[in-house]
Amino acid sequence: MESVGYHILGGIVTIIVAFTVGLTYMGLSRKITARIQNRKGPPFYQNFIDALKLASKESAIHHGFMQHSGPAFLMVSAILSVLVIPVLNNGNWFPNLNFHGDLIFLIYIMVFGSLGMALGSGQTGNPNSAIGVTRGLSQMVGFEIPWVMALVAIMVKYQTTSLVDLLEVQQTGGWLMFSSPFAFIAGVLAMLGMFRYSPFDIVSAPTELASGPVSENGGKYLFTMMSSGSIFAFAKLVLYVDLFLGGASNLIELLAKTFAIYMIPMLYGVVSPRYRTEQAIQYFWGWPLFFGFLALVHALVF
């Protein structure tokens, strides 16, 4: 059961499931956005067609080594995070590599991809990329602080840095969403920025920045980014479900919970216009930071 082959196979299956679910969610979000705008919209599998087309395109662009490895950094970050986060309760079905202190590891590795992509798009020399990178990193400074505060509050309250321990706590004591509500609110508000949907989509705004950091990447690079983006989206959603919604005991429960969480940034984005960078940072350092402080106080006092 605990052999190396079992773990490798499980990892591959986890990645495939994450890719499929992430792409389907993105396709569904396109469909829902279209319905809200009173359009018919593309079919929900449109993103799979796009991915297939991008993978079959030629990519004869060369700007240097970092440009080629930028999307790879994104992929590494997405896969490492999806392998560490427990997908189902009690290690059901999906074996993963989680260990004590994986929450701290996740705080680092979830930023790693964006930093690698920033280096990669820096080398393309496209001015739109450079502007996109500066905006993205400043926005990251905005939402990382309430996010880390929410995580630290949970770590302090339950005296653990392990996701599995937190899952066990929730199986006996109810969801963390209710037992530490302020951390949940801060986490969800930070998630709005983490998904980079509108109103926080200044980083890759197609009309303003010509899609920002990815503007020099086409074809297979874009395919790598798209697939890593979908894997990473799944990882983030599962992390939220594990942290606040008590995990899931089977796949259907997992899909229901992750989709419910996914609707928050998506629906908030559909009805919101785009923020400028300083407005976004002002937003994150307002109420989300306040709830982060409340969560810390709540964790220390109660």
């Binding site: 396109r30 503007s215 086409g218």
Partner: protein, 182 residues
């Protein structure tokens, strides 16, 4: 087995099917035709249901949409944009101006026949073509892609000297394409 003719056929069929249903358009707003693109993309005509989507940069685009007349000044930019696009790539000539000059037939600084400078796959006639006509043009392009007949990029590579020669007749011999690995 991989280079077998039949398996190649199957692979081509799948690739062409994906390309057909996922067309990312770089709308180069050279002329007045660009005003017909927003209604085509938004709620009324909703081109996204056919997989037609806007692309932000030439690197990500599949189709270059020349919307209307091209002045000699924008011509070299358009050609540079076209050469930055990745294979497979297609060109749609939009409006009468790209076919024979249209109402600019005797203008001194617009080009009359787009096909001399870029390999056009599909023309959309009209001044201006309505969004229905634009969608019909995309449908025609989809049909050509599925049949494997949208080979403009191949034609451009094979007859590069012809296209570049026509460009030189207008711009002059001094003009060279700039390097862009900056």
């Amino acid at each position: 087995m991989i280079n077998d003719k039949n398996s190649q056929k199957i692979a081509d069929f799948i690739k062409n099917w994906a390309r057909k249903h996922s067309i990312w358009v770089l709308a180069y707003g050279t002329g007045c035709g660009a005003i017909e693109i927003p209604p085509t993309m938004t709620s009324r005509y909703d081109a996204e249901r056919l997989g037609v989507r806007g692309a932000a940069t030439p690197r990500q685009a599949d189709v270059l949409l020349i919307t209307g007349y091209l002045t000699t000044k924008t011509l070299k930019r358009v050609i540079r944009v076209y050469e930055q696009m990745q294979d497979p790539k297609y060109v749609i000539g939009f409006g009468s101006c790209t076919i024979n000059g249209g109402m600019y037939y005797d203008s001194y600084n617009t080009i009359k026949v787009l096909d001399k400078y870029l390999p056009v796959d599909v023309y959309i006639n009209g001044c201006m073509p309505r969004p229905e006509a634009v969608l019909a043009g995309f449908a025609k392009l989809q049909q050509l892609i599925q049949e494997g007949k949208a080979t403009g990029a191949q034609k451009y590579k094979e007859n590069h000297e012809y296209y570049r020669g026509n460009l030189r007749k207008i711009i002059g011999n001094k003009y060279e394409m700039p390097l862009y690995n900056w």
